[in-house]
């Protein structure tokens, strides 16, 4: 299913993107010189070209302003404010790297990064293996396919805030369903999101439950595009079930696996809703994430310089993964 060879028009870089933009118009349309008209004089042509440009920019204007104001400018501004003391309304003051040193010395800083990385790692272990296995099994089932697809995607459509509140209720140490289930199975109960050791895992479970529908569907589509002859050939060669998974399924879906892994890393490192709603960062800072800390700096401490310093660190790290993802989708497959 991978398509080797030169990349299609899907490109990211600036030069290459320019090629993409103009590819639809490489040749001048034949109708520009109408038969009944003589070629227009040079001044006319220039005026027409100017009018064309004006029209093109009129169409672009709304989108361009929005991108400038809400994407490009904030990106630059994050870097600038990271080196300033910034209070809304007052003149900003340059402070060098003071924001960075202050933020790094915050005891919550290490906790936030540790939690975010642990969360991402756990999400990869739990939220990655389970959907793949599920998709593998679902792909073999020949009945009730529509049912499975709809049901697995249902939680994705429930607003994240609602699923967080729902699980907060399940995790309730007293009447919560989670402990009730453990009691029913005669297992020891747990503190779930209220225990310092278990809180982070509890949040990963919520996030996995709430988002895995999409992952399962994407895997399912990838599995369905594997040519059946490959399995047949492997079976003729005497490959067992596990060997078929290892030597056919996984290599054939390698691209999708890698892509989803990068996407998941990028997404889980920006986790905010679950810790904010379920644990409020506690207990004992066990679930403070980087984004949560950014939020705290901005809206609790009114320290926008510190918030932007943290943002820049997160940007740099995630930018690497994003670049990897875009490179992958550009060279390995035509993604839209």
């Amino acid at each position: 299913m991978q398509r080797p060879g030169p990349s299609p028009t899907w490109t990211t870089g600036h030069g290459a993107a320019g090629h993409g933009a103009s590819s639809g118009h490489r040749t001048a349309p034949a109708f520009e010189v109408r038969p009944e008209q003589a070629p227009p004089p040079a001044g006319d042509r220039r005026r027409r070209r100017l009018a064309d440009q004006g029209r093109a920019y009129a169409f672009l204007l709304g989108g361009l302003i929005c991108f400038a104001l809400f994407s490009w400018y904030p990106a630059i501004r994050a870097v600038v404010i990271a080196f300033q003391t910034y209070t809304p309304g007052a003149d900003p003051e340059w402070v060098g790297t003071a924001n960075f040193t202050r933020v790094v010395q915050d005891p919550e800083f290490a906790a936030a990064w540790r939690n975010t990385l642990t969360f991402t790692l756990l999400a990869l272990l739990i939220g990655f293996a389970i959907p793949f296995l599920l998709a593998l099994v679902l792909n073999e089932l020949r009945h009730a396919r529509a049912f499975f697809r709809i049901v697995v995607y249902l939680p994705v459509m429930i607003p994240p805030v609602v699923s967080a509140l729902l699980w907060k209720w399940f995790y309730d140490p007293g009447a919560g369903l989670a402990n009730e289930a453990l009691r029913f199975l005669h297992l020891p109960t747990s503190n779930w999101s209220n225990g310092a050791d278990t809180a982070l895992v509890s949040l990963v479970i919520v996030a996995t439950w709430a988002t895995m529908g999409g992952t399962v569907l994407i895997y399912l589509a990838a599995l369905q595009s594997i040519p059946g002859e490959l399995y047949e050939a492997a079976e003729l060669d005497g490959a067992s079930l596990l060997q078929r998974v290892r030597h056919v399924t996984i290599p054939q879906t390698r691209f999708v696996i890698l892509m989803l892994m990068l996407l998941q890393i990028i997404a889980t490192m920006q986790v905010f809703t679950e810790p904010f709603v379920i644990t409020g960062g506690g207990p004992e800072n066990a679930t403070v994430t980087v984004l949560y800390l950014i939020y705290k700096y901005a809206f609790l401490y009114n320290d926008f310089g510190g918030a932007c310093a943290l943002s820049v660190m997160l940007l740099l790290l995630l930018g690497l993964f994003s670049a990897g993802y875009l490179r992958l989708t550009r060279t390995d497959g035509e993604t839209a």
């Binding site: 440009q53 104001l69 007293g174």
Partner: protein, 287 residues
Amino acid sequence: MSSTRTLLSPAVLARPRGRAVYWTVFTGVVLLFALAFLFPVYWMVTGAMKSPDEVARTPPTLVPEDWHLGGYTDAWDLMELPAHLGNTLVQASGAWLCQLVFCTAAAYALSRLRPAFGGVILGGILATLMVPAQALVVPKYLTVADLGLLNEPLAIWLPAVANAFNLYLLKRFFDQMPRDVLEAAEIDGAGKLRVLWSIVLPMSRPVLGVVSIFALVAVWQDFLWPLMVFSDTGKQPISVALVQLSQNIPLTVLIAAMVIASVPMVALFLVFQRHIIAGISAGSTKG
């Protein structure tokens, strides 16, 4: 159903033992799915109908002893759900409309109108795909504050337009349109706007549908951004209001409010599930 060969060969499945294993696994997966994905939803919907005392009881009851609708009506009135749902609706539909108008126009320009520096602009737009959205939330907030848009729906609508993914999706679609059709229209004297309106848009219905669903769902599900820009309680969308009010409200009422907040999205999904599922499956794996 589908006849393509998968991991297991049809021959294995046809054998009695294969059939037995197949149906065992099938039943197991059905049960697992019902338990993992349907049961929480059932628990939420019925939990709201229990009495406050029943919902806190251990062991819990599987079916409410008496069915109260009071939780739902209380949630509707006490939590001012109509107002918050209305706010969400205004925010989501405005974001959808702005995205549709501005992204489509910009994509059309980049794809068809040959603007000077079009390549640079497209590069700049695609570069934003590399920047994780949440990491920019603070400087974006400051910009919105400077523009005086805090507590205004515009604070949701305009940033929603800066969506590189949707814009690129549209541009790609416009790129693939047969040139002859558009040129024929121009020869017949149609202006650029007319071509966009009468030819490009009608031909783009599938991609416009996908973009519309993405836009609506994104606003409805978002939490951090509306939490930041709507400090005025009366203007908050339902997601923010739910969390803000969750502290001082009886559990059954809160659960009822959660159900009500989910209904629009779940309904949207059930109506358009074919398109949504096809979009997800096709979107990311056309490798």
